[in-house]
Symmetry: C2
Subunit: 119 residues, 2 copies
Amino acid sequence: MSFDPSSLNYNADGLIPAVAQDAGDGAVLMMAWMNAEAVARTLETGRVTYWSRSRQAYWVKGESSGHVQELVDLRLDCDRDCLLVLVRQTGPACHTNRRSCFYTAVRDGQETELMTPIV
Amino acid sequence: MSFDPSSLNYNADGLIPAVAQDAGDGAVLMMAWMNAEAVARTLETGRVTYWSRSRQAYWVKGESSGHVQELVDLRLDCDRDCLLVLVRQTGPACHTNRRSCFYTAVRDGQETELMTPIV
């Protein structure tokens, strides 16, 4: 079946959550949002492109930081309301310079930092 | 730092996306939503508990299907607006009986099914 980005289920703001996973070792790196055009651009360019809600602008991941995400595979879920993007990540994915945004665990009721920034 | 579920950043509906990942092999299984009470219940019971937007009710994953998710680790992202739950998944995670909800890939402009239902 031919894929049409407009066939996805977007929220009231026209956005769909996209989870980025390292295609190599499966680490979940981050979650951000795409609109239909960001999905289309990601597929066309092979550069993962989100929609920045704070800046209200397209966000080619790594455009300023150099920490780009090369698209390896784009997947959608059963409800067509969430995306999984498998990527080759250059440098850290998180703006804090940690490899993954999910660097805090909750263990025994305490927040525990699992990763330190890459220097 | 002590963890308080109310310290997370929820959307206008009081919900936060939660990505479930298999703690064994790192497969991303599904994405669903939690409210603060679902986060608290997940941590207290060790059974991953979402908020069902369609049913407007707590959804102890696997309660009816038996396809439960045992919590291994709960992580939050840098913006505190997305959760990653590492789980031990019994049976398929997807209601279609596939292991993961992300069973459709977009390749060369076509939707391609990567998994078949577990019989």
